[in-house]
Structures are given as structure tokens and as C-alpha cells.
Symmetry: C2
Subunit: 337 residues, 2 copies
């Protein structure tokens, strides 16, 4: 009998997420029922949204104690009770933090093979598509505009800023720590990157110096104080894409920024929330453009892969603390092809 190592939620976090919130067990692999697949996990995507799911129902059901920790991942079909899938197929699904998952075939997506497989999570996965749709199809970006991006070294922000540069915008990042900011400029080609952890110069002052004529488009991955500073730095008729609120997922609910709704009125701002699947009908555009830009060398694919399922808890805790650069993943098993 094949055994399945799993990481479960021992207890939902009351404050910040810690590795103590998780526990590991091992059970027998079960057979898929009618319409189900048995999938062997290869790569897990780590996302700030994983933490948000612990706060309650969002666009998916809430996660609860005792369950396998939820996570999107790439796997290989081992056994299929669905006509639509065969053993050996590479698929994307909600595998969770475990070596084997029994999944409903209707919730699973077949992937074209790709080398490396990890690009299907980074460049061509949720990260790349979120960056692409969230910039191109929500606020849009035009040559000569000033684009501000928070979590600029993160999986989405690192791509958003590079797309902004490709489109001719002036791109200012926000990240935590001097070394990370330098990397965003030197490695990703942003025009500048502001350090929100800089104790000498508060972010609003840095924003004033870096964007003296204000920000046309702000791509918000953080919410909280950074969103507040950005709202005050917006130009008249600026556009804000609300992608995520990583500063607010971990810990207690907090009120929104000062200036909501006052600044929206005075500056005639538009704020819009989106989720990547809203633009699934335009995924072909995203895949086409992202692949082309990466092949041309205009867009660097930055991945941060940790090896071994057991890295998942510390990997997610570290992601929430901002330790990753680019798309963080957990390699559970090597690409079989």
C-alpha cells in the first residue's frame, strides 16, 4: 500500500501564522471514486492568499482545523475514474499539502507539458496571469505613466513592474529592506524601489520624492499603511488595482486607510478589486504575451523553489514575512518527464 504524507492544520492561527499551526501525519493512499482522480503532487504554489483562506470563506470555502492545508499545485495523474483524464496527465488542482490527493476531475485542469514545469506556476500560472490581467485588463497602463507596485519583489509584483516597463511606463516599486529594493532595480529593471522599512525616511516622503507629479496607476498587493500612503500620492483620476492585501491577512482585521472615501472623491480615483479567474476568457492573451516577453529577454522569470513537502509550513510563514523573491513553490517530487 502506498503511503501519503500530509500536512494538516492543527489549529487556525489567532494572530500571526506560525509553523506550530500545522502538524504532519501519514495515511494510506485511497482509491479514486467515480469521477475522481488520484494525483501525485509534484509542485505546490505558495501564495499569500493561502493565509487569507484561513480568515473565513472568500471566493473559496474557509479552511478549518483538522483539514489538509489547502494549496494549488501541479501533479501527475496516477489513477483516473474520469474519461477526461489518463494516468500520466499533468494537471493543476487543489492538491493541498500532501504527496497524493484524490480530486474531483471537474475541479482539475489538464496542463500542456512545459519545460520547466515550474513556469506553469510562475510565468504562466496564477502569478503571471494575475500580474498580466490585473495590470492590462483592470487599470490599464500607458507609455509615460507612472506605475507604483507594492510587494515589488513578490511573485506578482515582480512581473507587474516588468510589464509596466515593457509598456513604456515609469515603474516605482515598494519592497521591504535595502537589499531587496536594490535587487528590484538591478535585477528586474524597475526605475526605482522604495523601502517601506526605512526608518530614516517614511514612505510618504519617499513617494513624494520619487513621484513628484504623482502616481497614475497603483497596483496594490499589500493594503494597509502602504495603500494609504499610495492613495495620498495618487494623481487626479488615478487608478488603483486591488489585487491583494498581504499586510492584512496575518493577524487581526484592521480598518482601511485614512482617506477612504474622501481621497477617492477629491482626486476622482477609481479602485477596483479583481481575481485572476475573472479574466480566464483572456488567458490566451496572457500566455502569448508573457511567453514572448520571457523568450525575448524583456521579462525575467524569478522563482524561489524550496525542496520537500516538509518545507511548506516554514515556506508560507516566510512568504508572509516577505522573505521570498519571485514566485515561491515547494517541490514535492521531481518532474517525471
Amino acid at each position: 500500500m502506498t503511503r501519503n504524507r500530509r500536512i494538516l492544520i492543527r489549529e487556525l492561527p489567532k494572530g500571526n501564522l506560525t509553523t506550530e499551526c500545522f502538524t504532519t501525519d501519514e495515511v494510506d493512499v485511497t482509491d479514486p471514486g467515480p469521477g475522481q482522480l488520484l494525483v501525485r503532487t509534484l509542485l505546490l504554489s505558495q501564495d499569500a492568499a493561502n493565509r487569507a483562506w484561513m480568515q473565513g470563506a472568500t471566493y473559496r470555502d474557509a479552511i478549518e482545523a483538522g483539514q489538509v492545508m489547502a494549496s494549488g499545485g501541479i501533479g501527475e495523474v496516477v489513477a483516473s475514474k474520469s474519461d477526461a483524464f489518463s494516468p500520466g496527465d499533468i494537471v493543476w488542482g487543489d492538491t493541498g499539502w500532501q504527496e497524493y490527493a484524490v480530486l474531483e476531475a471537474r475541479g482539475v485542469q489538464k496542463l500542456k507539458s512545459h519545460k520547466p514545469l515550474s513556469h506553469l506556476i510562475s510565468l504562466l500560472g496564477v502569478a503571471g496571469k494575475t500580474a498580466y490581467h490585473g495590470l492590462i485588463n483592470v487599470p490599464g497602463i500607458h507609455a509615460g505613466e507612472t506605475l507604483l507596485v507594492s510587494a515589488a519583489a513578490g511573485s506578482v509584483g515582480s512581473i507587474v513592474g516588468q510589464i509596466g516597463r515593457i509598456k513604456g511606463a515609469r515603474v516605482i516599486g515598494i519592497a521591504g529592506g535595502e537589499a531587496k529594493c536594490r535587487w528590484v532595480v538591478d535585477e528586474l529593471g524597475f526605475d526605482a524601489c522604495l523601502d517601506y522599512k526605512d526608518t530614516g525616511t517614511p514612505l510618504p516622503k519617499q513617494l513624494g520624492a520619487a513621484c513628484p507629479e504623482g502616481v497614475d496607476v497603483y497596483f496594490d498587493n499589500t493594503g494597509g499603511d502602504i495603500l494609504q500612503a499610495a492613495l495620498f500620492a495618487m494623481r487626479q483620476r488615478g487608478r488603483v488595482a486591488c489585487c491583494g492585501a498581504v499586510s492584512m491577512y496575518d493577524g487581526k482585521p484592521r480598518p482601511g486607510p485614512y482617506g477612504v472615501p474622501g481621497l477617492l472623491v477629491v482626486k476622482r480615483l477609481k479602485m477596483e478589486g479583481f481575481i485572476v479567474m475573472d479574466y480566464a476568457h483572456l488567458d490566451a492573451d496572457a500566455e502569448h504575451d508573457l511567453s514572448m516577453w520571457a523568450a525575448d529577454g524583456h521579462l525575467k522569470v524569478v522563482e524561489d523553489i524550496l525542496d520537500g513537502l516538509e518545507q511548506a509550513p516554514a515556506g508560507l510563514v516566510g512568504l508572509l514575512a516577505g522573505e521570498n523573491r519571485g514566485k515561491r513553490m515547494i517541490r514535492v517530487a521531481p518532474d517525471p518527464n
Copy 2:
């Protein structure tokens, strides 16, 4: 020599606005200089925005102590040093709280005569146009949608809700006090009106009962706790028009609602701020439709006119406390025509 009674700002409010913030004096009327007009004030518009101007520069300069209190108003040109205006012309301008104002002609707008003159401030003035553009040209409204309007008995809200009904939407108002809510339903024809002052049933619970399938469009005149409750009641892909934040003008700055930006992401909401003059190019549409609806009896024009310049301070304090129904104005002098 003609004398000019004026109401000045004695001291800017530190907390809530009171009538003690104002003082009255009387000075000689001065002659207009080149390019200027001498205007006799007839009707003053009272707006929550007057209070917001005291908080600092917005889309207009901040108001300061020692100045005549700023206010838009309708006046009659008494003397003109501009080729564009003649004595007897009826004009709209920033007359302030005084019987006579010397105004730069380029900042003044000539009005077509209208009976009653007050309609040029209510139905066809900033109130009516703000309601029209802010609903029709910002979020838009479609038959069968649920429209929620705060400050529903106010100058703008009372018109927004009536336009929503004309367009076939289900219209829910929010107002303070049972009598006012009853008036919004009985007199203005809203489908329902929720009392945010009801101590028995908190607003979020009332919203859940009145809008079980959620709100498609929320027209926000208040900001603060009411905006927060509305955000939680929005449907997926709901639209929020940010018109004003009357709950936040008076007193200290306060943070924005919980759920910004998180709810915007999860529900894919769009929030957009606007100011009536952004849509000046569409004013002809507004004037045409509003006049037609009023003439047809589909739209009731509700005015709340106080007589005498000396009523202005108490009138504005009362407006901020929500005592008005419909468009509050101060009649300084009778219509000369």
C-alpha cells in the same frame, strides 16, 4: 454708501462645527475692479462640502479664519467691469455668506432665468447634476438592479433614489430616524428606507433583510460606518459611487472602513470618486432629463429654504446633523424678477 452684511469665520472648528465658529460684521460695499462684477446675493446653497473645505485644500483652496465663509450662490449683477456681464444678469458664483460680493467675472456663470430661481440650485443645480451624473455616468444603473443610497433624504440622495426608480431599479435608502425614513418611502417613493440610528436593529442586519441578494450599486454620501456596512452588503461585481463623506467632514480624520481593500478583491468591487464638474460636458443631458422628469411628475423637487443671511451658520450646522430634507438654501434677498 450701500452696506454689506457679512458672516466671517471667526475660528476654524477643531471638532464639530458650531455657530460660534462664525461672526458677523458690516462693511461698505466696494466697487468692482477691471474684469470684476459686483453681485447682490439672492440665494445661497448649503452643502456638506462647505464643511469639508474647512479641513484643508481639496478641489478648491482651503478656507481660513478671518475670511467670509465660502459658499456657492445665485446673485444679481449690480455693477459690471466685464464685457460679458450686464447689470440685472442672474449669475452663479462663489458669493460667500454676504449680501454683496465682488467676484472675478471669469469665475462666474450666467444663468438663464428660471421660475422658481431655487430650482437652479436644487433640481438643475449642483444637487441635481451631482445626483444625475454620479448615478448615470459613474456606476450606471439598470432596471432590476438594487440601488442603495445613503443620506437618502438629503439634497443629492433624494434625487439619486428617484432617478433609480425612474430607471427601474429597486431603491433602498438609508437615513437617520424613523420619521425621515417614512418620508423617504411615502413622499419620494423609495422601495424601503433603513434607519441607521435604529438602536434595536443594527444597519448591517437591516441591510441583510432588505437586500437578501445584495446591492448592485451603492451611492455613498456618507463614508464611515455606513460605507462599511454597505461594502459588506455588496454583491459580486458591485459598483460604488463615492460622492461625499458627510460623516467624516465634521470632527477628526478617521480611518476608512474595514474591508478596504480586502472586500474589493473578494467581491471584485469597483469604487469610484467623482465631482460634478467632471461631467460638465454632459450637463445638457442632465438638465434635459431632470426637467422632463420633474415636469412629468416622476421626480419631486424637495427644497428646504431658510429665510435671511443670519440663518446660514445654524443652517449649515443643522445640515451636518441631518436636519434638512432635500436641498437646503438660504434666501438672502427675493428674486428681483
